[in-house]
């Protein structure tokens, strides 16, 4: 990337926060940077992603209002999630986030519960919040990719999957997960996003077989072929 590109990137980023309403700062701005991490990942701009990551990491984490209450709520939420009581889990994780706004895990769980409840915009919001607090949290990037795929937004799903791979503790494992999705996932958007991500990083993947054909009544056993084809 040339110096000109770096300046353009800086101006682009500067335009984002500057165009925000006056009251929208702090967490809003951080979510904007997390979104920019997706945009930079889509463009396969590692330096841009790293710049956004550093920006987020330099921000001081908000102090907990009541860390003990937040921890108790987090544990309650996990238990409710395990028991598949999604409403109780949602309430508990919301409480954990309120009492400790710097707790990435609480927002990560909240995003997961919202996804299970099919409340996709809220899930996206919560996961971006988790990533604004902890931008290298691969599992949150992966969940965010699933949200975008459910929204049929292949481009952003690809960016989120790219960051999943980038921050994976074990990249070879992440690579194999991506290949598995690219070759076997039934949902088109997620499958396409995984395939594009592998290609983005120039990782090998089996060329996709053409999608299964709908039953074509003209395809018949050879012995039933007409004697004189048209």
């Amino acid at each position: 990337m040339s110096a000109r590109h770096y300046w353009m990137l800086a101006l682009l980023l500067a335009a984002g926060p500057a165009s925000m309403p006056h009251f929208a700062h702090g967490s809003e701005q951080n979510r904007f940077y997390a979104q920019q991490m997706i945009e930079r990942a889509v463009a396969h701009d590692e330096t841009g992603v790293a710049a956004m990551q550093l920006m987020l990491e330099q921000n001081p984490r908000p102090a907990p209002l009541d860390a003990a209450v937040a921890q108790a709520a987090l544990r309650r939420g996990q238990a409710a999630l395990q028991a598949d009581d999604l409403d109780a889990a949602m309430g508990a994780f919301q409480q954990a986030g309120k009492n400790d706004p710097g707790n990435a895990e609480a927002f990560n769980y909240l995003g997961l519960v919202y996804r299970k409840l099919d409340r996709l915009p809220e899930a996206e919001h919560a996961l971006l919040q988790a990533l604004a607090l902890e931008p290298t949290r691969a599992v949150a990037w992966f969940q965010l990719a699933q949200i975008y795929a459910l929204m049929n937004d292949v481009r952003r799903a690809r960016g989120a999957l790219a960051n999943t791979y980038r921050y994976a503790q074990n990249p070879m494992r992440a690579e194999e997960i991506l290949r598995n999705i690219a070759e076997n996932e039934a949902a088109d958007a997620l499958r396409a996003a995984a395939l594009e991500t592998l290609r983005l990083f120039q990782l090998p993947v089996e060329e996709t077989i053409v999608p299964p054909l709908a039953v074509n009544p003209d395809i018949v056993p050879i012995d039933k072929l007409p004697s004189n084809p048209p």
Binding site: L13, E46, R173, V210, D223
Partner: protein, 472 residues
């Protein structure tokens, strides 16, 4: 505004230093560098170099441990499927195992080996290199990596990897035997050459018994692994019914058009015929394939009710054809080359449309199957032998036009012309291996025909893969 200033400074700093942050792909690049250095040192017979880079690998940070309890059943399942030749299912199982525990070098190795079997060499290389980062002295992984490089046509690196396989092996005589096998029977030139070079580096005298290995590929596939005998009752049709059926078969065949020459391939000594051009792949494939391709006659009340084709799949006379060829048959007769037999349906399957027939046509030769199923096939020349409209042993050619998955069955689309009567016949690659079984065609259009992929046949369970020659 503070944030903006910070950002501008950060971006400027990155631009000026040009420092790119460490990426996930660099982790692999580091591992690969050390593995390649171990290979280079092995080629140079530099034992200290091998040891040095092995230590470098061992000093890398270990990945976070997974869940071995969750991974183990997948590994077990994958091994069973790999042994049975069900490579795609094995891939899924090993993948699940690897995702559950990416720190188990055995699972990583098995996953790499499965990719190798599926001819997905890049993935195989990556997984095996990664497996070596977990266990740099794992001889089996080095052996597999050598095969990957050989399949890629890189005899030099194959040699280095094979040399490491030997030096780390707990049972070195066994590894030498494995290398001998590769040096003499592997289908890929570079594997044979790499194995031979490794052997020559290991043994004081030229590797005994493997001297002629570096030669052009044999025209016919290597001899198969020993086949298990078929139980007598299953393999031999009852002789009591054979006489009647032969008579009916002869009557049925009398009605059919026959090729002007005998079904036995002409030889150079046949008076009045020219010797076939040895370099012409079509002639070579026809001469070998015609004796292994069968005419299948369905008989009902002594009359021919249907005709189809089949292919001889094992030395004990098992013949593969389409289910729809034999679907309504009361009695079946088969002629492969110039030999005839009655046949019995041993196994059948509507989806995929396949059937296995038992005949008495024992043969020293049978078709080998190519399990490949990927886009690299498209454009390859194919040859079809069959009996369209009873025109025995008709030979046609075309190319692989596409890969199609229809109702969950993998097909190869071919442009070779086929007609009723071709069903169940072999679709053959230039190296003589069967890549598919001619099955369907599109009623409209031109030469839009489909063969069940050999990969599907192998995975279908219609035929015991252990008795099947699979070309590699």
């Amino acid at each position: 505004m503070d944030a903006l200033v910070k950002l501008l400074l950060l971006v400027l700093a990155l631009a000026l230093t040009g420092a790119a942050p460490a990426s996930a792909s660099r982790q692999y690049a580091t591992i690969d560098y050390y593995v390649q250095q171990m290979i280079a040192a092995a080629i140079a017979q530099d034992a200290i170099g091998v040891l040095t880079f092995r230590e470098q690998l061992e000093n890398l940070r270990r990945p976070e441990e997974g869940d071995p309890w969750q991974a183990r059943p997948f590994n077990q399942l994958g091994q069973e499927q790999l042994t049975d030749g069900r490579f795609r299912q094995a891939l899924l199982a090993f993948r699940q195992g690897f995702i559950a525990d990416p720190t188990d070098p055995e699972i990583a190795d098995h996953l790499g080996l499965t990719y190798l079997r599926l001819n997905r060499l890049k993935e195989a290389e990556r997984l095996l290199v990664y497996a070596l980062s977990l266990a740099p002295a794992r001889a089996a992984t080095w052996l597999h990596l050598g095969q990957v490089y050989g399949q890629m046509g890189d005899a030099r690196r194959a040699n280095g990897a094979f040399a490491n396989a030997h030096s780390f092996a707990a049972d070195q005589p066994r590894t030498i035997e494995q290398l001998r096998q590769l040096a003499t029977t592997d289908a890929a030139d570079a594997v044979r050459i790499g194995a031979l070079q490794a052997l020559q580096g290991l043994l004081p005298a030229p590797a005994a018994g493997v001297a002629p290995a570096i030669s052009p590929l044999p025209q016919s596939p290597a001899e198969p692994a020993p086949f298990q005998p078929v139980p007598e009752a299953a393999s031999k049709p009852s002789p009591a019914t054979a006489g009647d059926l032969f008579a009916a078969l002869r009557r049925g065949l009398m009605d059919l058009a026959k090729p002007t020459t005998t079904a036995t391939p002409p030889t150079a000594s046949t008076p009045g015929t020219e010797a076939p051009d040895q370099d012409n792949p079509g002639q070579r494939i026809y001469r070998r394939g015609v004796a292994l391709t069968c005419l299948i006659v369905s008989l009902e009340n002594g009359k021919t009710s249907n005709l189809g084709s089949g292919l001889l799949a094992s030395p004990d006379g098992l013949v593969i054809t389409n289910h729809h060829v034999i679907e309504k048959a009361r009695n079946l007769a088969v002629r492969c080359g110039d030999r005839e037999s009655v046949a019995r349906v041993s196994k059948r399957s509507r989806q995929p449309d396949l059937a296995l027939l038992t005949t008495s046509l024992e043969s020293s030769e049978s078709f080998a199957f190519d399990p490949t199923y990927n886009q690299n096939l498209i454009g390859l020349e194919v040859f079809v032998i069959g009996n369209p409209y009873g025109l025995e042993s008709t030979f046609s050619t075309g190319i692989i036009s596409g890969l199609r998955e229809i109702d969950g069955v993998r097909y190869i689309q071919i442009s070779a012309p086929i007609s009723p009567g071709n069903s169940g016949g072999p679709v053959i690659l230039r190296d003589g291996a069967v890549i598919g079984v001619a099955t369907m065609g599109l009623k409209v259009g031109q030469n839009l025909n489909f063969a069940i992929a050999s990969a599907e046949l192998i995975a279908s369970g219609i035929f015991d893969p252990a008795r099947m020659k699979v070309s590699r």
